[in-house]
């Protein structure tokens, strides 16, 4: 049943500029542990004072961690609902429908993870799952400057950093780090132009890749169709797609939609 579960915020950690992490405890346990890459529709049944419910909505948030039934999400300040989420305190309640969608596959010997911005949190959860299986992942993290790099110390395995301003690691794009590695699969999540570069590199080097995408979601459960990417539904067939799914896409890296389905162009 795709019916809401209500979660109490038990802790708010890692309040970086990339995003605050909210640890959530359910009033009714989810039946199964989410797979990294899966998401939940998250909303505020009673927003904190000063935030107007009528403009808050239910928005998709990746699962960024799991601790014995408690769920971590990491929220970046992007607009009305995310601002309200960031104004919450421990004890406040959120509604979640999930886990939804198809996550990353975990059968990989030498995983290479590449994340940018709030693309990093689901990869943190993925890295932790690999580590728990005894597989050591390599993670590339990118951002404009060091303050935009999502908690590198939390990642198990090797972490390699790139910043636009050179304030940490390699000075340049995170995608420029790719050529240093020969992984058995690339896992990536972040801004779409980064995903496009990742896909191109993977195809050029015959490395299979899995990419976690974002599209506007009105229902999150495969009913309305607004999250479509070509003929796929990002909420249901994704948000994780393989390179094969995307290589011939007319929309990936080019267009996306807003509420109501209006088209806008993806900035390169």
């Amino acid at each position: 049943m795709r019916y809401p579960t209500f979660f109490e915020i038990v802790e708010i950690t890692s309040t970086t500029s990339v995003g605050h992490s909210l640890w959530l405890k359910p009033n009714r346990a989810w039946p199964t542990q989410p797979v990294p890459g899966q998401f939940a529709m998250v909303w505020l049944p009673r927003p904190p004072k000063g935030y107007d419910l009528s403009v808050c909505s239910a928005i998709p948030m990746s699962i960024a961690g799991w601790d014995d039934g408690n769920v971590r999400i990491t929220v970046k300040d992007l607009g009305l609902t995310s601002k309200a989420l960031l104004a919450c305190s421990p004890g406040d309640e959120l509604g979640l429908i999930g886990p939804l969608g198809v996550g990353f596959s975990l059968d990989c010997k030498q995983p290479l993870l590449m994340g940018g911005g709030v693309g990093a949190p689901p990869l943190l959860y993925l890295a932790q799952m690999f580590a728990a299986k005894g597989i050591e992942p390599i993670t590339l993290l990118g951002g404009a400057s060091v303050s935009e790099i999502f908690h590198p110390h939390e990642f198990p395995g090797t972490v390699d950093i790139a910043t636009d301003d050179g304030s940490a690691g390699h000075c340049g794009r995170v995608t420029e780090l790719l050529e240093k590695y020969v992984p058995s699969r690339l896992y990536t999540c972040g801004p779409e132009p980064m995903l496009v570069s990742g896909l191109n590199w993977a195809v050029a080097n015959s490395v299979p890749a899995e990419l976690c995408l974002e599209r506007y979601m009105a229902c999150g459960v495969g009913l309305c169709g607004v999250c479509s990417l070509d003929e796929q539904l990002v909420c249901q067939d994704g948000p994780v797609f393989s390179s094969d799914d995307l290589i011939n896409s007319a929309e990936f890296g080019r267009i996306a939609r807003e509420a109501g389905g209006s088209v806008h162009v993806v900035q390169p």
Binding site: Y3, L53, G222, L223, C224, L233
Partner: protein
Amino acid sequence: MANLQVTLAGLHLDNPVMLASGILDSTPGILRRMSKMKVGALITKSISIKPRPGYPGPTAVETTPGTWINAMGLPNPGLNEFVDEFSLTNGSVTIIPNLVADTPDEFAKLADAVAVAGAKIAEINLSCPHPKASYKGRLAAQDPRAAAEVVEAASTKLPIIAKLTPNVTDIGEIAVACARAGASAISAINTLAAIDIDPELERPILGNGYGGLSGAGIRPIGLRKVLDIVQALTAANLDTPVIGMGGICDADDVVRYILCGAHLVQVGTTLAGNPEQLSNITEGLADWMDRKGYQNLEDFRGRVLEWF
């Protein structure tokens, strides 16, 4: 082999199974996917003159397994972007725009625009059951005169399917008024007026509060409404075809509606998470007819009417 063909306002359709408005039909991409299914026609999401972002979420929740409450809020990019982006002419499957508006004039304007864009027929949504909380008046489809006015205005532009709400005392009366006003077909049912409440938080579940119920659980209500419509049209000597929907999950459910006199059917909620079910339903219908030895849909349409 069973022949599933059917005509609707002169339009030839391969089979009587259509995609219902609002489900997996809000972008050209997902419509392309659905057009690869074994489907007679695809109805689009309701289109309004101005763009609508939709209601705040949660927008759709499963209240009992297979039965859903939703208040999407008729999100759509508005008439202009719709006409620009959606090709109504060169697909392999007929695409039928669904139109929603507040006044007969607006409906006529929408009908005109989609006719110009190549639509051969349009469905008009007289029946959205979850107006904003502030709205207190009746819907067009709750009043026979109001419904007839809208149908009359829109059907000067192209053939019109009038889609009715079940939230009325006498749906037959509304159907007859629409048919007399020139509707080429009647479709029913839209969702049932509903709400759901979270007992822990003591507030409505849906972002909009009010919503509409659809899916498996409402099928016996949909069947009854379609039966009422078919009986009322027959009693009024009208042969307007009826498009039945509400809770169709499999081929057996399609058969149930056709036995009650529906000429075509629409499938919605059951496709949540399972779009391919649409083809299974059509194939199942063909199998059922083969097993029963029926050549055409007329061979069993309306067969249960004698019992009522």
